[in-house]
Amino acid sequence: MTQLIIYSPTGTYEVEVAEGQNVRDALDTTEWRVRAACGGVGSCGACLVQLKSGEASPLTVSEYQRLSVEERAQGWRLSCQLRLNSDAQIYLKQLAKPSVWHSIPVADLMPPPIKFREIPEFGYGVAVDLGTTHLRVTLWNRRTGQRVASRKGLNPQESYGADVLNRLDAALRNFETAEKLSRLVRNSIIKAVRDMLAREIGEIQLMLLEIGQVMIVGNTAMLALLTGQGYADLLNPNFWQAQINCQPTNYAAWQAQWLLPHAQITVLPPVAGFVGSDLTADLVATKLCSRSTAAFLLDVGTNTEIALWTGKTLLITSVPGGSAFESVGIRNGMPAESGAILHVNQNETGLVLETINHEPARGFCGSGLVDAIAVLVATKVLKPSGRFAQSTGGEGFALIDGNPYSVIMGSDVDSFQRAKAAIASAMETLLELAKMSWYDVERLCVCGAFGRHLNIQNAQAIGLLPPISPDKVELNADASLAGCELALLSEESYALFDKITANAQTFNLSLMPDYENRYINHLLLKPIR
């Protein structure tokens, strides 16, 4: 990792650049994108930056072609060709127009699979993971098995409520709202595709004609709102364990709206009312059901989906996570972006906070919240009941004196306790249904953005994760996108979706007599026994 400081007319920023990564790719994962129109092959010359200090890779042939002698002498480079050998400083004269879309860091994406489909025509394809908070979209050349680009942005339905139920409710009350919610997401999907085409290929209209497939996974509620199908059933408990039909009725209209006349549109069907195809995608990507030993999978989010593979059968359930695991449910919650508190540690001098890009703390992302609560419990600032040892008078506890963005509220701890108790008691219930114990579990996959930077020991200390040896815990933050990509690229993986859906047994915990007792017992901030 090298540190890159960017000076621009709008301010000074700091970004980490991975070894071997070019500067443009590093900037594309942040809010400070350079202008671009060729996909980083050095042919458009739009991504100009001026190297002020630091050691960098030598000029490439493209740069000799694009830059004048004078420009080269002044240190101007094409950021897509520029790789850093040391910490560096650059001047960025022209940022691209601010965009809601960022690239997904390559480290968070799965390596492309080796086997591909035979694609006779329209060789490009799009994979979409439709989450409650975020939308992740990747563009593929299916012939070569190459991921052309990735984009991540907010789900535009957020303005109708961070909570899934609020959005379902809004749709149910008014048909026009339902239509609008569907249209918002469809617009976002195609905008992400167009952004990728514009920046990575430099050609939109003709390339749209080359897209032969759009593959979509998501939680059931998001798929229902996307397609305008089945959202009324979702609010009816009798459909909780039933298959909900989320297939769009009018593909032709989507193709027309998206200007994708050749795209086959596939919405991978959810397993049941509150278990979506994002979970199936997780299972496909992690190959959870491939071994003969027991394995758990959690997809942590506003609705946490949980699967237990016993070695023979697959048990599935889901629990409400409230919004504790999404940035919106916590006073100072935020996504894992610049300035987010990533980790909290305690040493002799006090609390040590690590923030993303070493910016001043702006709030907590998931791992920061877990660390903060664990450290506060360990240092007895918080009691296992979730109460502050010394009343904060409702003001909360500041990890950094004087920084209001570092405050943990009593209500944050409460949301977290209830969310983690729901997960722990759900896992325990599935274990008991399978007549197994924690000792039998050989693998635990934690999916969802929440788990990306999770400190496993801390998560175990406060009872979010069960007592399974940390080396058996895998953090697979983007597994549902990876599973969707596999379905796009491989016939075999696509077929797995149906197989998993057909064989899964789903359980509604509200109907399990012992669930509530378990839940209450798991509220304390203590390790799971």
């Binding site: 408990p237 296992p384 009941s385 209830r418 509220l523």
Partner: protein
Amino acid sequence: MIENIIKAYNEAVYETDKEAAFDVVNSALAQGMSAEEIIFQVVIPAVEEMMSLIVKDPDANLAQHFMTAQIAAEVTEKMLLLFESPPEIIGCIVMGTAAGDLHSLGKRIVMGCLKALMVEVIDLGVNVTAEKFVDEAVAHNAQVIGISAMMVHTAMGEHGCPEVRKLLKERGLEDKIKIIVGGAPYRYDEELYKKVGADTWARDGVSAGKVIVDLIKEVKSHVTA
């Protein structure tokens, strides 16, 4: 001795430490206190203390409500088994979640507190039809029907509280059976309970205990008068 027991028990409840609470109760039994004394001198005052504290404490949270109510209910259940004669019950409530609603935890807090306050609680479970609320209330001679709804569409839904009200009216039961509602939607709109035809509502599970006890007393005085 009793002061120490009360202090230790209150502390355990405040810390939501169920094991500690049971340790206090067991040692009180070992020291010769009767189950009746423990309930009326230790457990019930602790529940009442908690009700007043929770209203004042800006840091108190829902997780703690769940745990304290659970302790109250479990301790009470255990003590009731040891009672020499059946305890005098204040009255009866049938409780459930509204049609279409599976969120059962809110009513659980209420039930835990009510058990400790010597109110008989008939749990009708989740997703309860209006018909069932009324039939069960009649069958158990309940003074109150408690309907919990955590979602706007179940709080307002025609098959929830409004239908219970309609049935009570049709069957001429409105003087004998009162309705209390609770759940998040009623907090956002403090007039909502009236719109759906309930007699009253409570802001949280713990304070619902007192509202329900008062409601039962009101019905009883009305019926006997």
